[in-house]
Each structure stands twice: as structure tokens, then as C-alpha cells.
């Protein structure tokens, strides 16, 4: 059953597309109640408030409840209200959760459930919170709870191209079909999918989306100028769900689009060009979010060409967008991608720190330096980025990747919630200290006075995994990654398995209990499973060049990309110590600079990220490195087989379309994981000559 149309046509739901975590039935507990929406009419039309009304109207119409007139709110089962102050304990201080414009307070008392917020945006989040709670929203014990996001900046970046790129296709690193925004050179006429997507995102916690690839081609550049009306159409599709639109822009735009001869950030014509460009953007889209910039990175143009720093570059753009309240997300993914593999002194892992730490404090207040969670590139296991700890006077966003570029292309069932949670909780200054999430939320312990309250937060950004696939994400279970990303941006302390559980409840409401059991059996430890059968012990890469799918241990070993493992007949790993290696360990604050430096204390799973060791080196686990490689690779595939068995035993409990797609994906995962097992084991056996202690088959 699809939702009936409301007065405004919202919520937009195309029943031919998978409903993800918002199937009609997920709204039944709310929709079967009598619900009042109380939003003071402040004069200006409030599209988000209207969305709350529309959602309630649609849900109650579909599930037998009723919309209660605000005047009669006292008779309702549920009241959703925007109030000048929420129902939180009186006297909540400024900067507290209750003061956050997206916060909401849930009160359950005297048989009535009340959700209050100071803005319609907060109310919308409260509405979806009720949906997540399901019947529990009405049946759990009475009480009052206030929820506020850990940061106001919770973003998804799309690497969608407008024109199909001859090498990277419609969506760079996209594994879910085409783009929901673009089709073969144009913004889609029909943006229904974008509207549906905005609803899913709002229900997960996301509130900003960058709609085009950070590698900005000639066609994509035009979004900033000629196609601004088309961008406005996309922004209009996102706006009802409280999501703001950002654009990736080319550093070379003044030359490419403006006919200038330079993009020098200190050139007055360049500055004027960007100011005028920003003025046009905000004149067209008043709630536009800002610009995302990949500069001097992997061949993209940037300020280096003019002898200017990244601070010079970012601040020039920041000045152009500041009058409009705009942001500049400036990516720190700057490294030498034409490195000489012979040169063991240059270490790509050092690059973000080396490029950006010297400029801490130089960036404008509306610049957010966006740093990948690890120093390399979204590997299954790599160290955390030391650069994130090294910029106390800079607004920082931590960048993640929901699309599984290095994690199985949404052909393998890999749930990333546990991985992200571990990273977000990483205590940069030792046990109990501020975490990666804290720093991204503006709470760096060495921050200057303005940062302690989170106002200098940079937040979280991640590359989306969504395309025009009927399941949105290729593998239906990869929806859980998108959902989990949204939830963790709202609250990085959430239990990732609990998030997965939420996702099951929402996506498969009322299903056979085997569905929940099977999702947990397949996904809970799937990250560790994937790690087991791919690159071992934090050694990274070992993927096929270009596609990044499937094993090729030496694929990047003699390349210019700076991602080497130095395996030889005696040992493997990268010496990043201060004592004998690249000195990368010195970029970490204590205690990690010493923990990672020492073979005695480095965690096993990161051993080869920090050290080059003989194959016979004994891990803290008691195993040798080589036997660990063999054991984990055999075990990794066995775990895949176990997942397949669990799946097969319960596939009939899933909706047939989901079952069919998941079954198809598992066939490929088994094939690919078998290849990984055998290639990696064979590679290391041929190198080391050390047989498997258990005598299993290695080729």
C-alpha cells in the first residue's frame, strides 16, 4: 500500500522503488493515532512545517488515525508542536542540547506523547524519532527526553557527474546504477527520486547534500552558472525535508567560466568573479549551503599553481560566500599522486598533516577543512588521520565513505557501522580523551576559546552510496550503511549494532523474526569478515588498480600513487616509525605516537601500517604474521560461507525482490572472496615460502 497523496503531494513516494527504511508500515504506529501538529504561523511559509503536517496527514489517512485540529490538541494521542521553548527542564543554558535549533524533546505522560521543538526542523526530526520508536513511542514508561545532534553539519557528498565521464562513468565510485540527479549530461527533468531521497535522509539525520563530484569536469562546472536554475530545482526537492544543497566547484572556474586568465586567489578580478558568482547562487537559492572544493589534489587545479597556500585559496572563497552565510568545505586530500615508488622517504600518509597543520589558525571562520578519517583512502583498516588532531584552531569535518569503493562495491555484504563507530570514538589523546567525533563537533581540547562549545564544529561528511537502482544502493543491505551514517552523524556515540537493529525494524516492519536474526548474523561482524579475506594487518590497498575491486597485491606497488607495502621474500609492511622509517608516527599526539612506534605496543591490526616486519614476526595474538595471513584468509571465506548459509536458511522470510537481489550478490561475494583468499595466500606463500601450518591448499 502506498501513501495517499496529501494536499501538497508530499511525501513523494514512488511505489516502484524500494521504500528503504520508510515503508508505509513503518509509519503505522504513529498513523493509527490521533495526531495534532501545532506550528505557530509566523507569517513566512515554512515548508518544513508543512512537511510535518503532510507526513502526519498521509500516515493517519493510511493507517486509520486522524489529524486533530491544533485547537483541540489536548484531545490528541500525539502532539507535535513548535514552541518558543521546548519541554526540556527550565533554564537550559545556551549551548545546551535543548537550545539547538534541530533539537526536540519527547515527553510521554498521562497517555499523551508530546514532541516539542523550537523550530520546524527540530519537529521533523522528532517526527522521525517517533517513527523509529514505533509502538514503543506509546507504550514505554513515561518520561522526558531531549535529543539534539552532536553537530549542525551532517553531510553527504555525491560524486555524481552530470556528463558521463569516459572513465569514471555517471557516478564516480558509484555502485548503484545511474545518478538520481543527472542523466547523460543533464539534470533530470523528473526529480521524484531526489524528493524521496531527501525524506530518507531526513529520517536518518542528514541535513546537507553536495550534489556533484568533487572532480569537477567542464560540464559540471556549469552548475555554478548556466545551470543554476537546475540546481535550484534540486534544492527545491531537498528543502521540504530540511536539507540544504551544496555544490562542488572547480578551482579553475574563473578561467573556465569567467574567461579570466588566472585563478590566483589574491587577484582582485578573481575575487570579484567569485563574489559575483556567489551572489548569483544565493539570489537564486537563498538557503544554499556552500561550496566543496578539491584543489591541488589528484590533478585538480588549485592555489599551488599561483604560489598561494590552501588557506589563501579557501579564504578567498570564504570571503565570497560569507555575506550569504555560506560555507566552504575545503578537502585536505592533498598529496603527491605522481610519487616515485623508488622513493621510500616520501610517505603519502604524512601528506594531510604536512600540508595543513602549518596553516592552523589561518582559515576563515566559514572554512571547513574536510579530512578523511584515515591518512590514506578509506581502506578497510588503516590508522586514524593524525591531521584531525593537529588543527585545534581550524573547523574540521571528518570525511567518510558510505559508497564501498574499497569495501566490496555493494556486491559484498559489508556493514560499516562498527567501523565508523570505532573511528568516531577514537580517543586522540588516549583513553577517555576527546575523540574524532569530538574534534569534528568542535571540541578539540586545545581549541581556542571559541571552540569549546561546538560553534567551531566542522561536522561530518561522507560520500553517498545512492544511485537510481531500485534498491537505491545495489545491495539492499547497503541501505543500512546509508542509514547508519545518518544516525552516527546525529549521535556518534550510538551503538552501531543498535542502529542496525533500528534499520531492520523500520525496513522490515512486522517481519518474521528470522529476518532480524539473519541480518545480524550476516552483517554484525561483516566488516571484520571483509578485512579477513582482503588486505591483512593494516597493509592497505592490494586491490586492482583503477576499479579497486578484487585482489591485486602488487597492483599499486610500482605505481605513482604512494600506496606501497614493500613485500619481499623476507617480510612486508611500511616502516612509518620515527626511529627508522618515515616519521609518520610523530604526527600523533601522545600516547599514540609511542604506541604505534613500538612493535611491543602497536595493535596487531595496524602492524603493517606502521612497521615492516619479517613473516615470522610474532603478533601479540601469539601467531606469526604469515600464519595470521593464512588463517584469516581461510577464516574470512569460511565466514562468508557461514553468512550464505544463514541467508539461505532465511531468504524466504524476506520480501521476494530483496531475496532475489541479495542472493545474486552473495554469489558474487563468494566468488570474489574466494579469489581474495587464494590470491593473497598464494602471493604471500610464493614470497615467503613458508607453508601453512594447517596444510590447507595454497596455489
Amino acid at each position: 500500500m502506498s501513501s495517499p497523496a496529501t494536499a501538497t503531494g508530499f511525501p513523494v513516494v514512488d511505489p516502484s522503488v524500494h521504500a528503504a527504511w520508510l515503508p508505509d508500515a513503518a509509519l503505522a504506529p504513529l498513523g493509527s493515532r490521533r495526531v495534532a501538529v501545532v506550528v505557530p504561523d509566523g507569517g513566512a511559509p515554512d515548508v518544513v512545517a508543512q512537511t510535518v503536517r503532510d507526513e502526519v496527514a498521509a500516515a493517519t489517512a493510511a493507517h486509520g488515525g486522524a489529524v486533530v485540529d491544533p485547537q483541540q490538541a489536548g484531545t490528541a494521542d500525539v502532539v507535535l508542536a513548535v514552541r518558543a521553548s521546548t519541554g526540556a527542564p527550565a533554564g537550559a543554558p545556551a549551548g545546551s542540547a535543548a537550545a539547538d535549533p534541530e533539537a526536540f524533546t519527547l515527553t510521554r505522560a498521562l497517555g499523551m506523547v508530546t514532541v516539542t521543538a523550537t523550530t520546524s526542523h527540530g519537529l521533523l526530526h522528532g517526527l522521525f524519532h517517533l517513527v523509529r520508536l514505533g509502538e514503543h513511542a506509546f507504550t514505554d514508561p513515561d518520561g522526558t527526553w531531549t535529543h539534539a545532534p552532536t553537530t549542525a553539519l551532517r553531510m553527504l557528498d555525491h560524486w555524481d557527474n552530470v556528463a558521463v565521464h569516459p572513465v569514471m562513468g555517471q557516478v564516480e565510485r558509484g555502485y548503484s546504477g545511474g545518478s538520481i540527479f543527472y542523466d547523460d549530461g543533464q539534470v533530470r527533468a523528473d526529480l521524484t527520486r531526489v524528493a524521496q531521497y531527501s525524506r530518507l535522509l531526513a529520517a536518518s539525520g542528514i541535513n546537507r547534500v553536495a550534489i556533484n563530484n568533487v572532480n569537477v569536469g567542464p560540464r559540471e562546472s556549469l552548475l555554478l552558472t548556466d545551470d543554476l536554475d537546475e540546481v535550484a530545482r534540486i534544492a527545491a526537492a531537498f528543502r521540504p525535508y530540511g536539507i540544504r544543497t551544496h555544490l562542488s566547484v572547480s578551482w579553475a572556474s574563473p578561467v573556465r567560466l569567467g574567461g579570466l586568465t588566472t585563478s590566483d586567489p589574491l587577484d582582485e578580478d578573481v575575487r570579484a568573479w567569485w563574489r559575483a558568482a556567489a551572489d548569483r547562487v544565493w539570489a537564486t537559492i537563498p538557503d544554499f549551503g556552500g561550496f566543496v572544493v578539491k584543489a591541488d589534489s589528484e590533478g585538480q587545479p588549485g592555489p599551488f599553481a599561483y604560489g598561494r597556500s590552501h588557506a589563501d585559496g579557501a579564504n578567498m572563497l570564504a570571503a565570497a560566500v560569507a555575506p550569504h552565510g555560506g560555507l566552504v568545505h575545503w578537502r585536505a586530500f592533498v598529496y603527491d599522486h605522481t610519487q616515485d615508488w623508488r622513493d621510500r622517504k616520501t610517505d603519502r600518509a604524512r601528506a594531510a598533516y604536512d600540508h595543513f597543520a602549518p596553516h592552523d589558525g589561518e582559515f576563515a571562520d566559514n572554512v571547513i577543512v574536510q579530512i578523511k578519517h584515515g591518512p590514506l583512502d578509506f581502506q578497510v583498516r588503516e590508522a586514524v588521520s593524525p591531521a584531525i588532531a593537529a588543527l585545534p584552531r581550524t573547523r574540521l569535518a571528518a570525511e567518510f565513505q558510505v559508497t564501498t569503493e574499497y569495501l566490496g562495491h555493494q556486491k559484498h555484504a559489508v556493514y560499516l557501522g562498527r567501523m565508523w563507530s570505532e573511528l568516531l570514538r577514537f580517543p586522540y589523546w588516549g583513553e577517555g580523551s576527546a575523540t574524532m567525533a569530538d574534534v569534528a563537533a568542535g571540541r578539540h581540547p586545545e581549541s581556542d576559546g571559541t571552540g569549546g562549545d561546538g560553534t567551531r564544529a566542522g561536522g561530518f561528511a561522507a560520500v553517498s552510496n545512492v544511485g537510481d537502482d531500485v534498491f537505491w544502493t545495489g545491495h539492499p543491505f547497503a541501505q543500512a550503511n546509508l542509514y547508519a551514517w545518518g544516525r552516527l552523524t546525529w549521535d556518534p556515540t550510538l551503538d552501531p549494532i543498535g542502529i542496525l537493529d533500528e534499520w531492520v525494524s523500520l525496513t522490515f516492519p512486522g517481519a518474521d523474526p528470522r529476518v532480524r536474526e539473519t541480518v545480524h548474523a550476516v552483517l554484525d561482524e561483516s566488516w571484520e569478515t571483509y578485512e579477513r579475506y582482503t588486505a591483512p594487518l593494516g597493509v592497505c590497498f592490494m586491490v586492482k588498480p583503477h576499479t579497486h575491486y578484487g585482489p591485486d597485491p602488487d597492483g599499486y606497488e610500482y605505481s605513482p600513487w604512494g600506496t606501497y607495502h614493500f613485500a619481499d621474500r623476507d617480510g612486508v609492511g611500511v616502516d612509518r616509525t620515527r626511529a627508522t622509517g618515515t616519521g609518520f608516527t610523530g604526527q600523533y599526539p601522545a600516547p599514540w605516537r609511542d604506541v604505534y612506534e613500538s612493535l611491543e605496543t602497536v595493535p596487531d591490526e595496524l602492524l603493517l601500517f606502521f612497521h615492516h616486519v619479517p613473516y615470522g614476526h610474532v603478533l601479540r595474538s601469539g601467531k606469526t604474521v604469515i600464519q595470521h595471513v593464512y588463517d584469516t584468509h581461510f577464516e574470512g571465506l569460511e565466514r562468508v560461507h557461514a553468512a550464505v548459509e544463514a541467508w539461505q536458511a532465511a531468504a524466504d522470510a524476506f520480501p521476494p525482490d530483496v531475496a532475489e537481489r541479495v542472493t545474486e550478490r552473495f554469489a558474487e561475494q563468494v566468488r570474489s572472496a574466494t579469489d581474495w583468499r587464494d590470491v593473497v595466500n598464494t602471493y604471500f606463500f610464493r614470497k615467503s615460502g613458508i607453508p601453512d601450518a594447517a596444510g590447507r591448499t595454497i596455489y
Copy 2:
């Protein structure tokens, strides 16, 4: 100075394109004489005879000679004449050189040079022979010489796509720009380049060209039907120089184009469809050559899908084209391209023999089975294909590759004449026995009665290296490969260095002597140089997957393509022996089956093609395998540097446009060869742990 236009507009010469081996000055010795062309008017217009007249008219007009009326031929310096019998010694038997319709006889006597032939095609070859001889044609001692091609089938295959292929581009494995035939989905309106090309080919000896890629896409399929008039335009551009046009066709054409539900070769509707298709082709192009087919090969459709043999498939097509005197070139490049790398029993090298030898004698008389010179794929060094010796009752073409897919992409200066010569002269049954060239020319020693006189020749085919580049071939020196290929198809016993010398004389007439010295210094042993810095000792591949440019020792090691080297910490190479390996050596006739089988007798340069040996194995040269790898790789790069030095010392003696391009190419060759040296040395050092005896730098 460009040639003045003649009455018919031939020869077509665009002065903005490099003249290759037919610059105006190359025609000066002939053009400065008084020349009579005597061709009896047989009633039908003879475009090739007209070409001879036009060439003479243009050359004499440009260089101060004169055209002498045939009636006054006795007063001319040079007489070019078609006669019922040539000036060869009386009583030349049928089947002798003089009876070949393309043969010609040169007589120099009493101050007059006479070239006679029985056909205008022979006369055209004689004309270009005079051009090649230059002043020697007139000043050498008197005498009579008859020249005839070793086979009537001297072909170039173009892997040009009509539509730009999303992965392979306009020309598959093309390194010379776009296609001279097609541009972005259409046959070019202006075929001037094709006309120029036909002249160059005729002057080298080629007489047949297949104009489209053997991987026939949907757009390319239409050449056979909808675009036949366009094909006819191309054929018309080739015809004046005696070159016949062939098409690559898709086995699936009856389904793709004919709307049939099958391509089963025994289906009567399929047979009728092909007959009708052939009828249309020859009705449009009466001298059309025939079809080239890549079937059941690397994903192309073929008769296997219907449980039919390659003989069934080829003979069905042969029946369709036979009424028109057409040929079917059926490629033997059939192997399992989805092989499991774990499976050491399957050996791709065996595939052509295993697939085709059992069908010897089954192929129709107008089927030519086209077999690559080696069992793998145009490697810098691989064994000769045993399949070529295994089909005595089949017409065989030996297939070569002028475009340098695995030999440096026409960025490296690599002259292939020596390599081809060595292959063509390979004595399949031991010293002094019939060679690869003999077999291709129809002189297999075990052939049935019809073959001994060469009438069952299959001839020679090679993939062209020409594109719309201003130098035709990317690297100007790669023109020499195209020229040498044509010359060797005419006479495989020619000295390849002599051919190179001819090429210099023609291409750079009257140049500073340093030009000749430098070309020899750079190219004479360039094949061996390239071998030294790339994959060693016949181990093959070790190239980057897909592009096939640059080193990646393990690039294909764990792939489905069947091209492995099995390097481990102890040794390297493929055991293809009968005793312990894949048995491939048993596909050769004696003595090679034993020569290759034994470590005592296998030639060093093919050691790793036939045997897996420890790194310490001592070659017949006295060196260990590992030291040989190091030495050759250091030496290979040193040889490149020496070539660059030779080049730099004489670059000013070359035309400036040539000098600029060659200088640019050398920069890339040095970069790439350095990478090859270091990657291969490092790869083997890391595997073996054995240091270089000379202590040179390995990374």
C-alpha cells in the same frame, strides 16, 4: 615540392601529411628520365594501368623527365610494358615466378631499362621497384631479374572501429591517433588519406586490407549491409593501387542484422542469409576480397554456441562467398579467456593447436585459417606457434602485429623487421627445413598434392599501425615497421636490415649520411634492446593489464587470461614440458619437441617460456637466470641511453618535424624503460633475495 595533379588526380598526395617512403624526391631518378608506358588496351578500363601512367606523368612532370609516346618507346630511357609474356627466359614453367600475375621482370641493357609484366598489377610493382632502386636502376651493371611475390595474399588488418568504443577507442590497440577510415560513427567523407595509404602500401608490397576491427560491434556490423556503399567508397580508394578490400564480420550477423533467431551454420536460413549478404557485397564491389572472422574468441560469438565446429562455421561462410571467388579468413585465436589461474594444467599456449589440428583437412579451399606467429599474443619473445606446422591440409595465414601493442605503443623506437624475419625463417622441421614463411606460402612439406606449388597458400596478415597521425604511425620510425612488413610479405627472405636501409633511402632521399647511420644505430638492434628491459627470457606479459603499456610483473598473474609466469621466491617460468608440465612441447615436430623439452638444449631466450627454473639456474650463456635478469635490464636501459645519444648527435640532420616528434618520443621511452628496468629488477630481487653481483641499485 608536391606532385602536380595528373589527369585523373592521381597520385593523391596531401602535402600536410608526412610523405613516408614516397616523398617526391624518391621519384626523382625515375622522373628525370624519358619514360614510356606500354599497356595494350584490352577494352575494359584498367585502373591499375592508369595508376602507372599517372605516376609516370606526375614524376616526370615534377623532375624534368618526359612521358614518351608508346609508339616511340624505343627512344625512351625507361619502358614499362605489359606483355603477354615477360622478358624472362623463354619457357618459364607454369608455377614459376614469371608466371605469377604480380611478377615483373627488369632488364637493363643497351642504356635502356625495361620493366615488363603480364598484368598491370605486376607493372605497378615493377614501377615501385624502380623507385626503390633509385639511380641504381639506371647505373648498375646490365642484366635481367624477375621478381615475384612469395604469395598472392599479403594483407593488413585494421582494428579500426566505426563508432568510438567506450574502452578501446576509435582504433583498438591504435597508437597513431584516429582512424583514416572512420570518424566518430561514420565512414569519413574525405578518404584522401586512404588513397595516400593505398599508394604507400602498394609501394611496400601489400595487396589486401581488412578495414574494420575483428571485434565487430553493433555499429561495425552494419558495414556488411546498410553501409555497403560506404565500403564501396573505401574500396574505390584502394583499387587504383591494386589493393582489395576485406571486411571483418560478426558471426552473429544473421541474428543482429537479419532478424534470425540463430546463427547456427547448419541452419538453412542462416546459410541463405549469408549467401544473400555475400551476393549484395560482390554486386556492389566486384573485386571485394572476403570476410575476416574472429569467432568464439575473447567473448565474440561463434559456432560453439550451436555445438558446431570451427570448420562447420568457416565452411558455411566459404560456401556463401565461393561463387564470387571470395575468401574467408578464420582466426585461430581461440582459447579460454576465463581460465582459473589456480589451474596449472590448462595452458593457453596449447589452444590454437588443440582447437584446430583435429580439423585439418576439413576446411574448404577458400578458407584461410589465420594463426598468430606465437602461441600467446604478439609478445616481444615467445616460441613460434606449433599450430602452424600442424595443419598440412589447410590453407594457413601467419598473423603478425605491426601495431606495437606489447612493444612500446610506438612511443619506443622498436624496429620489428629482425624479429619478423627470424620468425618467418623459423625451420619447423629443423635446420634447412620448410619455414613459417614456406608453410604460409603453401609449401608445407606434408601437404597433399595441391599444396606443393603454393596454390594452397594462406599468406600473411598483420594488424596495421596506421592512424590519422600526421606521421601515420605516431613514432616516425614506426613507419619502418609498416614498410618492412610489406616487403617481407613479398619476400620473407629479405634481409631486414637491408629493408631498413631501403626505407631510409626512400624516406630521407639525399639526406646527410648521418641520417642513415643514426637510423641504423637506433633501430638495428632495437628489438633486442626492448626485450632486454622488459619481460625476460621468454616469460611473456608482465605488462600493465588492459593497456599493455609499462611494467606490472604480476599484472596478469592472478587473472583469467591464461598468461602466468608462476614466479615465487625460488624460481620462475612455465613448465610446458611433456615430462612434468603442460605437454605443450609435444605439439612441435621433431627436433623442436625435444630441443624445447630439455633444459640442456632449450635456447636461453625461451627458457622461461618452456621451463620453471630456480633463479640460480645457469643459462647456456654461463650466467644465472637472476643475474641475466639484472644484467639485461641494466644493459637495456643503457642501450636506450646510447640510442638517445646517437639521436641527439644527429637530430639536426633530420627534417625538423621528424626531429621534434622523435625527440619527444625518446623522452617517454627513457622514462618508461627506466621504469621497466627498476620494476622488473626490484620485483625479482624482492622475490629472490639474491643481490646483483655488480652491486648496482635495485630498489
